[in-house]
Symmetry: C2
Subunit: 403 residues, 2 copies
């Protein structure tokens, strides 16, 4: 039988990241490919305790729940966001989701008609691009530098494309690992208000900041509650298997997303949501996050040390102030996708950069995760990778290589 | 700020069922409205034990999982379906979902273009209609009787509308509570093959059958693996809070749905999926289902007894052979939506029938759930409802009422 799939499936692509994870997960390879936190840091005892509390609540805790999510957890998230992120919103403005990935999907579902325009950075989060493409939207990249989108290009594109929204990961971006300056954040918000454009602020990594004193104010905290939709997750700070994220913003949008969620899956696991509520109540998540920051910062520095050993023409990267990734550019003659099998053969994996691009992919880029492996493994894996890179550079034309 | 929502949101409606649940959940009302199993029957100890097994597996059990779902659970579902339902498929043909609601949504996403036609019964499952509407599909009802869709009308509509798929709940249907005959099942399958149409078989209630000896062969068991997509859930047999369902069928379709799920939410809670795997391994779910069948059958009979007391013109209902619902028709001059506030005032709630209709709703219908309340409460609630109905019939014109 032949199946006539919907038009939107023409844009489906299995995520390169996840396909690689599948292969790499089976072997004895040091993987810098995925965006995985380190299992060994998971607060397993606290999670187990939290589930015990749920079961102590009796049988009625196992019944169907509300689409919006478990109310006490929504309240706890509202409190937490006020204290940690200066985002002041009621529980009513929060929808609990199956990871923040679902927040991206549900928002796209309620806002995008085929052909609608979204402005993003380039490169940007791969799986967000996949969602936008599945709704047949048109993604238009805005020029940006290390501080965020360039004001002139941004305004020009808001005027000419009338976008439905701007999608950004302003704090420790995926894949680039950079942080937007406060000035650029304010500027984007001003323009969004001027041109009546929603900002979708994706902040999965915001808690993993290396300098505790630094202030990376979310755009949602600068907003008056009308323009910014903010999403985050407990996947990086507690455990990913819980699949619990949230989205907060204007009530009218949250309400519409809840209606979309009702059709999509009725509600997310309420056992997990209840457990997370008890975890937030009984476990010192802030101290745990302080530990994560210190451990991940050390790993970042180990990886940085290895990158600094390289003296290769065209090599470029941002030193991360938080998050989980290095984004590396090589000499433009090198194709990192073609190089990957060689790296895997040497026992190390990364993600080639091209799928993160909206258009005109730079094939000489790749992403490295520094949170999953312990320092010794990072050191060994980077050693292997360095030798792969150095070998690859042998093919770089001498005259160009010495530029 | 004004928000320009997507076209598809014009078709959004908050589910009447869930809105009523919200109000009813707060008061001291006996609710026959929702589709809830009884909390008191939940195998809480077994569920708790199963979660313990997950945590014994150590920290790596808390990491990100595969979009397709936890492999051992997919294998366990494949085995279980072969034994219990004679559906023989590999784990590769199974996608785990956040309830079977998500299976309906993901399938719609990969198959429906705006304007595409779906054939259904009329009335049919409300939240499936909401999904189809959100994808801007055109739902065409097929005439049916107590045995299923009428062959002539079905073939005529397959020919004239070229539908993308036929959506059915053939075993203890929601809301009508009827069972398709084997002949009609086979006939639909033959036509589907003849006209190259997929059958989406929604079977959330199949395990709740009152006559253990009866054989309600799923269409998926009659198929050669090319035409039928089958979905079910553990929400009615284990606990709803787990939100774990599955969909099984042609590998090409399952694969495409997995790609859609990757964008939609990456994967469902893998803690819950792992727990369910241990529960299936260590707990005698089949015995538990036997208990559920006996308890729910008794409750159905209590409700039936009360309905049989009524001697009202135009009254009609099917006696359920399983599942969770009675579907009741009254005299055509009575509007059950308008009657609902009076019922709630008397301490009892039901779901008005009109939202279950594709078109031309019959306002004189309503659905009663018999699984959630204990027999004494069913008796009391039905007593109240009977008095509400008898009062309503006082307005029925005498000449018509005596017909």
């Amino acid at each position: 039988m032949k199946y006539a799939f919907a038009q939107r499936t023409r844009n489906f692509e299995s995520s390169a990241v996840r396909d690689i994870l599948k292969v790499v997960g089976e072997g004895d390879i040091i993987s810098f490919a995925g965006g995985l936190p380190d299992d060994d840091l998971f607060p397993l005892d606290a999670v187990e305790e939290a589930y015990k509390r749920v079961f102590e609540g009796g049988k009625h805790t196992m019944q169907y729940g509300l689409t919006e999510g478990y109310t006490p957890l929504r309240e706890a998230v509202a409190d937490r966001m006020a204290v940690r992120k200066q985002i002041r919103m009621d529980a009513d403005n929060i929808l609990l989701t199956t990871g923040s990935q679902q927040a991206i999907d549900l928002f796209s579902r309620i806002i995008l008609n085929p052909g609608d325009v979204i402005l993003t950075e380039n490169p940007t989060y791969l799986a967000a691009l996949q969602v936008f493409q599945s709704y047949e939207a048109r993604v238009v990249p805005v020029e940006s530098d290390e501080f965020g989108m360039l004001p002139e290009d941004l305004e020009e594109k808001m005027k000419s494309h009338l976008p439905k929204f701007v999608y950004i990961v302003p704090t420790f971006s995926n894949p680039v690992g950079k942080v937007w300056s406060l000035e650029r954040r304010k500027h984007l918000l001003d323009l969004a208000k001027k041109y009546n454009v929603i900002i979708f602020e994706d902040d999965p990594y915001g808690e993993i900041q290396f300098d505790a004193a630094a202030d990376y104010t979310p755009l949602a905290a600068l907003d008056d509650g009308e323009t910014v939709l903010y999403t985050s997750t407990f996947s990086k700070t507690v455990v990913p298997a819980l699949r619990t994220g949230w989205v907060m913003g204007p009530h009218q949008i949250i309400r519409m997303m809840a209606q979309a969620k009702q059709a999509a899956d009725l509600h997310s696991s309420s056992i997990d949501q209840q457990a997370l509520y008890y975890l937030l109540r009984d476990f010192d998540l802030d101290s745990h996050i302080t530990t994560l920051r210190a451990v991940y910062k050390e790993r970042m520095e180990v990886m940085l040390g290895q990158l600094q050993r390289l003296n290769l023409p065209g090599l470029g990267y941002v030193v991360p102030q938080g998050g989980m990734f290095f984004w590396v550019a090589l000499h433009e003659s090198i194709n990192t996708k073609e190089l990957l099998p060689k790296a895997v053969k040497k026992g190390v994996a990364y993600v080639p950069g091209s799928p993160f691009y909206v258009c005109e992919p730079k094939h000489n880029t790749f992403r490295l995760n520094f949170t999953h492996a312990v320092p010794e493994k990072i050191e060994y894996g980077m050693n292997q990778l360095v030798s792969v890179l150095e070998e690859a550079y042998e093919t770089v034309p001498k005259d160009k290589a010495t530029v």
